[in-house]
Symmetry: C2
Subunit: 348 residues, 2 copies
């Protein structure tokens, strides 16, 4: 690869306005610690039957209460279950005053703000079978998972005091997962988190300057990996991690939950392809998947420049104090090189 | 501990304006992956003599060029060496135009910005001996390291096109370290990174509202761990990580490199105490240490509300997709509880 000969570059895009250092030389540094390369056991279950796994079919009683399942009238033959998280980060029981401000305690002299930890934290069990991971499903099977996110988001929208909903998936212990059975999570927050408001600001600024949505208008030159009817997979111009991949709707849409059934199957297909390519190229890496949607209560003037997308980050290294300190990531792989490699991966 | 009975809380402080979810219930969740608890071998060397370690005394020829050493006229009996990083993230060789804008390539239609990766990336070797870690040194010994940072920052200030300098330390493989010999790093950037500009904005806002510096005025009620003549160690009100600890100057000072020799010895003492307490309480955890200083070229109106401090983060868990997606961290330990525990740690 030609990567090694490139000079380092500092980049920023018009979606997140986030700085990244691209620095191929970094990939050559040695380590005197034991290898951190991911073993299969880090991310994959060892057998089909896991009597002690609460997410397996047959162990439903070991789980926190179910919210719904697909198909809705199924019994033991469910495909996807959405359940409460047994150890929720936020509490659905906390009393919320109709006026959020009453609920908020601010200390004027120190400038500190605290808010009761009201919110919803759910788990989506993506398959009844322990050994079946998301990309093992068919495009239509993945669509069932994607439509379960949509349905749950629509339910949560109806709760007045929810401002933002984060759907995410951790695969493998080094990506933070504590459970190996294929699953994802939905966290509904009473506040808009920093990255979502930063993204809103960055996309608004770009729209003010160019009249365009930065994701409709995203750079695919040398960065496109694949295209389906409604979606593109790309390596983003300012990739924060090696082989970071985005799946971006080719149609303009502010909120993930606008997804319809046809598009869900199309998205299932390109998501399957993307995860299979990453798995083959990078040897089944741990990864995180995040759906970046817009705050729930955006106003109509914000619709022209808000656009949801999916971010997939294979976890290939451990970040250090520089990233924690600055919020700026050092990525040893130029996205142009990652896109070329992923474009050319041949699946068996 | 009473921690388990607390309700979750969402907090924000007036220093970083960063949201955090405090959620003790999270600490009870099980894991079906192998234990991630840190072994001694993750963070500690196995023996004194490491013939293959370039940072050990006697192996200086295996290192990238030296910038300076302390004491300056020492030969084999050096205490601290500042050297170039052999695999630098940024390049000191890249030509920089006097006007940074000329050097910048912006794509008006996509809003993308790229900048040549000019900058300095140095390593500070904190001891000639492989088995000696930072807290093993005396307060005066640590002061030599702290004054080496200061001297190098002063040299880098003289390079016109540097805007921000990040000093950081990775200890242990799970904190990102690739080398086990005690060391830290200095990265000098031609741009101001996001966290530094966010901090500047948050502290400015607080100053506008209250007329006070948010770090001079920081909440120590239930959050103070220790105090020395010139510094306090505290658990920050909106701790992003369990047992995150800050060391804050009790005098107002915008830039770390204003540190004088007396204060460096005092800081060495409280830093030693803090690292020893964290190590004893948390079983020698991997950790990151970051010095948060102000952008180099702040104007005099910014001096009243800019204040440097040190952040120490023990790495006790792996973050997941929620944190990557939202920038909001889930911390299972309330800082009030962490401060009480750390206040009461008895060193042998
Ligand atoms: N019987 C049961 N019924 C219902 N739910 C059950 C259950 N047993 C376990 N759970 C829940 O299932 C979830 C599994 O989630 P993951 O494996 O994706 O990672 P986890 O949330 O533990 O933490 C990772 O993701 C979070 C969020 O990004 C990070 O804060 C953290 O550091 C990282 O390790 C857990 O949240 C757990 O509480
Ligand atoms: N002979 C030699 N002479 C001079 N220098 C030498 C050398 N041999 C090695 N080095 C340098 O020494 C440094 C050691 O640094 P650390 O162990 O703190 O972590 P590293 O920078 O590798 O990466 C961690 O920190 C960075 C920054 O936070 C993260 O990007 C990354 O993911 C994380 O693993 C490396 O930067 C390496 O390039």
């Amino acid at each position: 690869m030609a990567t090694e000969n490139r000079n380092p570059e500092i980049r920023k895009d018009a979606v997140n306005n986030r700085l990244v250092i691209l620095s191929p030389a970094r990939s050559r540094r040695p380590s005197d610690f034991k290898s951190k390369s991911q073993s299969k056991s880090d991310s994959s279950p060892t057998s089909n039957a896991q009597p002690q796994c609460p997410f397996c079919a047959g162990n439903e009683h070991q789980c926190a209460p179910e919210i719904f399942r697909f198909p809705e009238d199924s019994t033991s033959d469910w495909k996807v279950r959405v359940i409460e998280n047994l150890y929720p980060a936020l509490s659905r029981q906390l009393q919320v005053k109709s006026d959020n401000e009453e609920h908020r305690q601010a200390n004027g002299s120190t400038g500190e703000v605290s808010l009761g930890g009201f919110g919803f934290h759910d788990v989506v069990i993506e398959s009844p079978v322990h050994s079946v991971h998301l990309p093992d499903l068919s495009p239509a099977g993945i669509a069932v998972v994607l439509l379960a996110y949509k349905k749950r988001i629509e339910q949560l929208c109806a709760v007045g005091s929810i401002s933002y909903i984060q759907v995410f998936k951790n695969h493998g212990a080094s990506a933070g997962a504590s459970m190996s059975h294929s699953h994802s999570q939905i966290l509904a927050l009473p506040v808009i988190p920093t990255t979502a408001s930063n993204r809103l600001n960055a996309m608004k600024e770009h729209h003010n300057q160019t009249g365009k949505c930065s994701l409709c208008n995203i750079n695919t030159h040398k960065l496109l990996i694949n295209e389906s009817t409604h979606f593109s997979s790309i390596s983003p111009f300012a990739s924060t991690f090696a082989f970071e991949t985005w799946i971006v709707p080719r149609y303009h849409s502010s909120h993930y939950h606008q997804l319809d059934e046809d598009k869900a199957i199309d998205l299932g297909g390109i998501l399957k392809l993307t995860l299979e390519k990453l798995s083959l190229q990078l040897n089944d890496p741990p990864y995180n998947l995040m759906i970046h949607t817009s705050p729930l209560h955006i106003v109509s003037s914000e619709l022209p420049y808000t656009h949801w997308y999916i971010q997939i980050v294979p976890q290939l290294s451990t970040i250090g104090g520089f990233e924690m300190g600055t919020g700026c990531y050092i990525n040893p792989v130029f996205p142009e090189d990652a896109a070329k490699i992923l474009r050319e991966v041949q699946l068996p």
